[in-house]
């Protein structure tokens, strides 16, 4: 289980102090798919960056299975696959295979395992035809597949995606959704931020609504629908922000 306990983070922008995360507490169950929704600047990316140990909170604690994630960053990072954006994190002058092999090496995988894992992912994502071509000539959809494969190369238990379908066409977005279904079947814990309410409705067990660094709602989607008497997530999100509900 992933737990945030009274976590806060603020940034200094010139003379202004911005509270990106304002003493939030939340928990994510193992094997659940969690949708993180909020406006631009709500604190979604900061939350994900803290969870993958890229930035440390000013206060509070983040734990995985009761262990502080900053006590052993390397081990935590090895257990996570992270993708910020839809098709980022790829080196354009390298081939898809070279990109995957490079990141696999960074996770200390053996040559034999790297080869097998790349072959498996290439087959799974239908990338065999363009595996040995340079990424610079790829379409957005092709890049997205390679980027997701890169995230999965070391077979992590926890997957974090930051707005994974932003800027993608319908087909590529659907490809992503299909991957999430498959990964959910495999028992992976997944957290992704998005502006697409239908994505959350279709894919998530739980939802975290965040507004100005504070949690507006955290829990199961079905519970939210029952509480509010509506299944329109878009409406529920807007009304929660307007009401200024804070999740306690």
């Amino acid at each position: 289980m992933i737990e945030f306990k009274n976590v806060s983070k603020q940034f200094r922008d010139k003379k202004r102090i911005i509270k990106a995360i304002d003493f939030i507490s939340l928990s994510i169950q193992k094997g659940h798919v969690v949708g993180l929704i909020g406006e631009n600047g709500a604190g979604k990316t900061t939350l994900l960056r803290m969870l993958c140990t890229l930035i440390e909170p000013d206060e509070g604690q983040i734990t995985i299975q009761g262990e502080d994630i900053f006590a052993n960053r390397e081990q935590v990072r090895a257990s996570m696959g992270v993708l910020f954006g839809a098709e980022t994190g790829l080196y354009n002058r390298l081939t898809a295979r070279e990109n995957l092999a490079y990141f696999a090496s960074l996770y200390s995988m053996s040559k034999h395992d790297i080869k097998n894992r790349i072959d498996m992912l290439a087959k799974r994502f239908g990338m065999r035809k363009y595996l040995d071509r340079k990424v610079e000539g790829f379409s957005k959809g092709m890049k997205q597949k390679v980027a997701i494969a890169r995230t999965l190369i070391h077979d992590p238990d926890i997957l974090l995606f930051d707005e994974p379908t932003t800027g993608l066409d319908i087909t590529s977005s659907n490809v992503f959704r299909e991957f999430i279904y498959q990964l959910k079947e495999e028992g992976k814990t997944i957290m992704f931020s998005t502006h697409m309410m239908d994505e959350v409705e279709q894919l998530c067990d739980d939802v975290v609504m965040i507004h100005k660094g504070q949690i507006v709602y955290q829990g199961e989607l079905e519970t939210l629908y029952d509480q509010e008497g509506s299944r329109d997530l878009n409406y529920l999100f807007t009304s929660k922000i307007v009401r200024g509900d804070l999740y306690v």
Partner: protein
Amino acid sequence: MFRTILMKELKDVLRDRRSITLLILIPILLMSGLTFFYDRLLSDTDSNDYVIGIDADVDNHLLQELEVLLPEVKIEQEENLSEQIEDKQVHAGLRIDANWQEKMESLTPVAVEILYDPSSQESSAAYIMLASVFSEWESLIVENRLIAANIDAELTNVFQVQETAIKDEDHALASFLLTVLIPVLIPIAIANGSYPSATELFAGEKEKQTIEALLITPVKPCKVLLAKWTTIALLGIFTGLFCLLIFAIELQFTANLKMGFAGIEHPWGFVGMSMVLITLFAVFISAVEMIFSMLANSVKEAGYYLTPLFGLLVLPLLFMFFMSESLITWLYAIPVLNLFLFVRDTFSEQITLGAFGLAASSYVLMIMLLFLIANKMFHQHRLMLGK
């Protein structure tokens, strides 16, 4: 892990055409162009090509006299001398009193006017040459007049000045040009060679968001930083040594410039010490480039920061003109300036191991300091991940 990152970075950078151009083509063009240009400069000091204009109405006798005095100069009779000089048709002009012969015979001074353009180097040189020729002609006439008056011509000789150059003049000029050429070109080539990788590996990765993917791997940031820095430094070292090699080869095909090396007592010692300083300078400048690249959010922005920095590399050349020519050891502690001093003092046979050691130590110290700064910056998420 360090090797994995290093090999990937090298592969990535060397697949970029811009990097290859700056690594290979620019040093070849830069070194070739300037080596042969400077060599030409040395061979162009003769008066063979001068064209002197003279008033159209001068008599044939004067023309014959001038042809004897200026055997390698082309003399042309022109209507408007000033205009001809301005239009670069002639290098200088001569106006001599029409009654020059009568005045000479009556021992009256003959008016001679030399016209030249002070803003033109060639015109100024032609003026100096003409002034010198008339001075010699005057001495000859004075001597003849004294003899005609039964006066010992030796009476006019007070001093017997003898010029004794301790070095061959051509060699000295070639050495001087080399002391300017080497420390200006090689550092610029090194900075250019490492520039694409420095901007690409930090600002570029930030722009493409690949740095985030790299930083969330279990690899320690310090190793990532070291591998990236090594990549930049290796490319800089390659460019520097490549320049030295091209220069050494091309120098063999020069007519005059290679004579400049005659002044160096231990040429192989110079080459060895140059290689050490080139390596240290490449590591130093790559650290500087790396820091500026970290400050930028895009390759373009990094370019804005680094371009003026390259201009500063030639700044020591200006200081050199005001500095004492004797060895000042403590100045070797100043990076970049010490490259100019090293080359100059080697050619003037003043270099000492102590001065060289100080230069090398100052680079090692600066490199360590810059690495500490870079490491601190690399751990700042605001800098590496952007706003």
